[in-house]
Symmetry: C2
Subunit: 110 residues, 2 copies
């Protein structure tokens, strides 16, 4: 998860990922479509690959990269774990705070 987030945080890497949504692509095509230098693309793909976000399939001397569904499932379920945050009525901020205050005063703090 950590690696996933780090990988996606880099703008060009995120662009690559978004491009790959269209389907598997060889490195050279990514280079052209995103106007990046080939070595940078290879490096970014390396990071994405280490993070488990993409995988490769060699075809002749080309290497096709595609997204790895599993990584996105995991990311999705991590984000889901925050669902309660926004489903529980969170606009009661002040009420919650007053609660906390009260508890502190009562028994000398947590």
């Amino acid at each position: 998860m950590d690696a996933t987030l780090t990988a996606l945080a880099e703008p060009n890497r995120k662009r690559i990922v978004e491009l790959l949504r269209e389907g598997p692509q060889p490195v050279g095509e990514i280079v052209v479509k995103l106007r990046l230098r080939q070595p940078q693309v290879s490096k970014h793909l390396r990071v994405l690959s280490d993070a488990g976000l993409v995988e490769v399939r060699p075809v002749a001397q080309q290497r096709f990269y595609r997204l790895r569904p599993q990584a996105f499932q995991e990311l999705a379920s991590w984000v889901e774990s925050y669902r309660r945050i926004w489903e529980e009525r969170m606009d009661r901020f002040d009420a919650v705070l007053q609660d906390l205050q009260r508890k502190e005063k009562n028994h000398g703090g947590n």
Copy 2:
């Protein structure tokens, strides 16, 4: 979205976010629970705040931070946009590749 991902990519920042899942906390409590120095916590909170991931509410000289539901909703829906990736049968990697190859050969490539 970019800012969101960058913010979450930093390990200590992610820790803060996960801690805040338990509810709003003043800076000092985060400092203690996560064993970080106060200035770093303030700085990380600044970044999280700029990214819209958290918001503050001052109470006396304390400042309570809490997660901002909206940010997580947006993150969730970004991840959701990848759902088709894993719902479409993606194990047909090779088939897809053969398709691509064919097209290239036929009309001199895209």
